[in-house]
């Protein structure tokens, strides 16, 4: 798994100046993967984001906008999607901007993020992304999570000569801002099983239950094997065995710990 992750987003980035324009070229080598290990679907979004140096990137909102940043701190330069001819990765893309605009991005870093916009309701089918179903592919409608690539030094000095290949490292996907934490509404133990009722779940995320003999030893990886899609309209019911090794249960979102392991 780790090997796959390291290979997740190997991207090439280069800057080419044409007349008064600066062209940013970027791509990923692939295969890119979601937090749960699945290879990204066709039509998945990638976000090219500029972040001012010294600013800690706060992530994306569920609607695809940046969380808690004004344009002076961070901005989305463009969204692109993986295509049918480049499965599991982002093919070569160009992003062109004026030299003056590019100069305004001095003192910052360009990062490429792989978003997770899979639609929970379609996962049981062949899988679909927001882009795959949307009328317009210009903007993701529901972001479940994202993987951040390592920083790229972005300087307009000598941009025309810049043809530096960079390596992107995968990190654990993060929950978009503004998504509520799940609430365990009840626990009932019957016949060696605990029945957990969970509310406040979001349809763009998956939920799992980790179990252990103490909160410090819960098996997160095991938990990721039986995820349920979030649903705002109803409570989720998890049925988990109770024994000496499984007495504490924690509800997680999107199986993130599986990647972290």
């Amino acid at each position: 798994m780790r090997k796959n992750l390291v290979a997740l987003v190997v991207a090439a980035l280069s800057l080419v100046a044409v007349a008064d324009k600066v062209t940013l070229k970027f791509a990923t080598k692939g295969p890119d993967r979601y937090a749960d290990g699945a290879v990204v679907l066709e039509g998945e979004y990638y976000a090219l984001v500029w972040v001012k140096d010294g600013v800690t990137f706060k992530g994306f909102n569920a609607d695809g906008t940046l969380a808690g940043h004004d344009a002076a701190e961070a901005r989305i330069l463009t969204f692109r999607t993986s295509g049918r001819d480049t499965p599991g990765r982002l093919g070569p893309n160009n992003y062109q901007l004026d030299t003056s605009e590019a100069e305004r991005l001095n003192g910052g870093t360009v990062k490429l993020f792989v978003l997770d916009t899979r639609l929970a309701s379609k996962r049981e089918l062949a899988g679909a992304t927001a882009a795959g179903l949307a009328d317009s592919v210009n903007f993701p409608r529901a972001v479940n999570g994202y993987g951040e690539a390592t920083s790229v030094a972005f300087s307009m000095m000598g941009a025309s000569a810049a043809a530096s290949s960079i390596t992107f490292a995968a990190t654990v996907s993060q929950i978009p801002q503004g998504v509520k934490k799940p609430v365990i509404k009840s626990i009932v133990v019957k016949g060696g099983f605990a029945y957990l009722t969970v509310a406040e779940t979001d349809p763009c995320l998956q939920y799992t239950v980790a179990a252990g003999d103490s909160p410090a030893t819960m098996a997160q990886a095991k938990a990721a094997e039986n995820p349920q899609n979030g649903d705002r309209a109803r409570e989720l019911l998890f049925v988990v065995p109770v024994d000496d090794a499984r007495r504490f249960f924690q509800v997680n979102r999107n199986g993130l710990e599986r990647l972290a392991k």
Partner: protein, 252 residues
């Protein structure tokens, strides 16, 4: 007089056994603990808060009805909680925890589904039969900031170590000279008073030869064992006292 009455009540305390479990702060985490009970009374700590309560961060209580698994209890098993200077008692009858009427003089306790048990509080569980049994208690782990129990001025509260895998140093409680701790130790109790100068609790015992009460300082800090319980009497005229269970555990 009231003190002697306590001693008599506490002398009836039964054994406490709890399978090892480290209770630490964690959100969205619920737990199920198996407690062995013995007749006539078993001290049961309240190690959880109500499930689903983390939406209201100040929530630090759970009810008998929600905490004690019904399937493992028998007819007329009972739970006693010390509230307002008297025991509130609920008995298991007809598949539910019901108010155990205590006579015309005392006010009846609230229904089990409404009566709050505070995190860190101690309650007695009394099996109807003399056979040792097993009950399940369950609930949600409180947030770290909520791993405390508060005692109001003039209140006498029965506390039980809610961190069952860890002991608890009494000296971590900064009391006042007028406060009293009675540690439940098997069939007996030990009385502790607080020395504000040394910031230590010392054993306060009666010498039958001199017929006087005296203090004994121990080189060892008084330790509350795992699952151990104690009564805390907060003097009137002082502010509320907060027992921080997590800080005590972290200091081990």
């Amino acid at each position: 007089m009231k003190l002697k009455m306590w001693v008599m009540l506490l002398a009836a305390g039964g054994g406490f056994a709890l399978q090892a479990a480290r209770v630490v702060q964690s959100e969205n985490t619920v737990g199920v603990l198996r407690l062995k009970t013995a007749a006539p009374r078993t001290m049961v700590p309240v190690p959880f808060v109500a499930v689903g309560s983390h939406a209201t961060e100040t929530e630090s209580a759970i009810t008998v009805d929600r905490m004690v698994q019904k399937e493992n209890v028998a007819w007329l098993d009972s739970v006693e909680s010390w509230k307002g200077g008297k025991y509130d008692i609920w008995s298991f009858d007809n598949g539910a925890w019901t108010v155990s009427k205590s006579g015309a003089v005392d006010a009846e306790p609230p229904p089990a589904r409404e009566a709050p048990l505070a995190f860190g509080e101690g309650v007695w569980f009394s099996p109807n039969s003399e056979n040792a049994g097993e009950i399940l208690v369950m609930g949600q782990l409180p947030k770290a900031a909520s791993l405390t129990t508060t005692i109001q001025p003039g209140e006498q509260k029965l506390l039980a170590n809610p961190l069952p895998e860890q002991t608890f140093e009494l000296n971590r409680i900064e009391g006042s000279a007028r406060d009293t701790i009675l540690v439940v130790a098997g069939e007996t109790t030990k009385t502790y008073k607080y020395d504000e100068t040394q910031k230590k609790w010392f054993l306060y015992s009666y010498d039958s030869e001199s017929k006087k009460w005296g203090r004994t300082y121990s080189k060892e800090n008084p330790i509350l064992p795992r699952g151990g319980a104690f009564w805390y009497t907060r003097a009137t005229g002082l502010g509320p006292l907060t027992v921080n269970w997590l800080a005590a555990a972290a200091g081990e």
